[in-house]
């Protein structure tokens, strides 16, 4: 009897403590998932990926306006996260950290693309920039996408982070490396421009 209770107690205690310490993966916050991923739990990464990748993809899509480039950047971002997981500080918010890495990757990629040589067309001239204005589509949701594309980059980023990615103003400010007031100002100015672009929709019955 004594031997039985002695052998079963540590296992029972360990099971209770484990279930108390680590909630199920589905119930865990992104920060807890990141902690468990850092501790080497592969499933935690998959849950974390499923939770943050749509937001991250949406953000990168609107930065690059190109699905292939966005997916490339998504891979680069996650490979950086994987390499840097040991330096993730416990208690730091995960989503702004990941978005900031994605943004930095985008800026690095754009900078290196700018110094890349441009291919000449067969007649030896440089390809011309296409500056054609896209007309607004009939559907409001599509028109919103086009109007978002037309916004200056800093306004668009502020709006995408707060309205589509769902970050708070403070979190968006930390991703953009700007003050909260600056982010509010960008969102407001972007909003004014968006309204101007979308005016025709409010006029139609």
């Amino acid at each position: 009897m004594t031997a039985y209770s002695v052998s079963i107690w540590p296992a029972l205690e360990a099971a209770c403590l484990t279930s108390e310490r680590s909630p199920s993966l589905a119930e865990s916050t992104s920060e807890q998932l990141m902690e468990r991923y850092v501790d080497g739990e592969a499933e935690a990464f998959e849950f974390l990926y499923r939770r943050v990748s749509p937001n991250l993809m949406g953000y990168l899509l609107r930065l690059t306006r190109n699905r292939e480039r966005a997916e490339d950047l998504l891979q680069i971002t996650f490979s950086k996260i994987h390499r840097a997981r040991g330096s993730f500080l416990k208690g730091a918010p995960v989503l702004p950290w990941i978005l900031a890495i994605a943004r930095r990757s985008f800026l690095d990629e754009r900078r290196s693309a700018q110094v890349r040589t441009e291919d000449l067309s067969p007649d030896g001239s440089l390809p011309e920039q296409q500056n054609e204005e896209r007309p607004l589509p009939a559907e409001l949701s599509d028109a919103l996408e086009v109007a978002l594309d037309r916004l200056p980059e800093n306004y668009r980023e502020a709006i995408v982070l707060t309205k589509i990615t769902g970050l708070s103003v403070a979190e968006a400010a930390s991703v953009l490396g700007a003050t909260e007031t600056a982010v509010k100002l960008r969102v407001h100015r972007g909003y004014t421009q968006l309204r101007k672009e979308l005016e025709q929709y409010s006029r139609t019955p």
Binding site: G40, S53, M57, F78, K80, F88, I164
Partner: protein, 234 residues
């Protein structure tokens, strides 16, 4: 009681977040979970303590140097008290500048304010600690100038050790403002180096302190600004 402000953009049909393609997701999950092993870095507190320990070690070397060269007891004591007090300030700067923060302390403007205030306060302290003053023409020639150059070189070396340690201890932790954090690391290193040299340095002349001890802080802050992007960004 005030009503919450209505969101002027709430009525727009905002696009939903989009999932990446299945192939890309499988590739990423495969790469990130293959042979996954625990990779836990130091905690923020351990990193902070490590930086302070290196700064303390450098300061104690300065003290040893001062005792060995029979500096005045008053000068040694003032330098040591200054080092202890500035050690606390360094700890606060490291905590606010590098540890994960939420709320007011986490805001960028607080850290920018810190990056401006910290070196200004230190230069103010050096001016306060100066016991004598000679005109710049006298200071810039002869033995005084060469002593300042020698002192500045040692302070730069000590500061680079402390600043480098801060950069390495917090390596890859700041994807958001790595340059700002790098500048803070440089300032912390510069102050550490200047204090260590200050303990053993016999000169308390104002120009000497401003140039040989103070300018080093600004120089290391600039170096930290440059190195921060490479070292602190993941």
């Amino acid at each position: 009681m005030s009503m919450p402000k209505p969101d002027p953009l709430a009525d727009l049909p905002w696009p939903k977040p989009e999932a990446p393609g299945e192939a890309v997701s499988a590739k990423i999950c495969g790469a990130c979970t293959k042979n996954l092993c625990p990779k836990r870095g130091l905690s923020a507190l351990s990193r902070l303590c490590l930086c302070l320990a290196v700064s303390g070690l450098v300061a104690s070397f300065g003290y040893w140097f001062g005792v060995r060269h029979q500096r005045s007891e008053l000068g040694l004591r003032v330098g040591l008290y200054g080092a202890v007090a500035w050690g606390l300030v360094q700890a606060a700067v490291l905590y606010i500048g590098f540890a994960p923060r939420r709320g007011v302390l986490g805001s960028r403007s607080v850290r920018v304010g810190l990056a401006v205030l910290f070196p200004v306060l230190f230069l103010g302290y050096l001016s306060y600690a100066a016991w004598s003053y000679v005109p710049f023409e006298q200071f810039s020639h002869g033995a005084r100038a060469s002593h300042a150059f020698f002192c500045g070189l040692i302070a730069l070396g000590f500061g680079a050790i402390v600043g480098g340690c801060v950069l390495l201890a917090w390596r890859g932790t700041d994807p958001i403002t790595p340059r700002l954090s790098g500048t803070l690391a440089g300032f912390v290193g510069g102050v550490g180096g200047a204090l260590a040299v200050g303990i053993g340095c016999p000169s308390h002349e104002a120009w000497h302190l401003w140039t040989a001890h103070g300018l080093i802080v600004l120089a290391l802050g600039l170096m930290g600004f440059v190195a921060g992007r490479r070292l602190l960004s993941p």
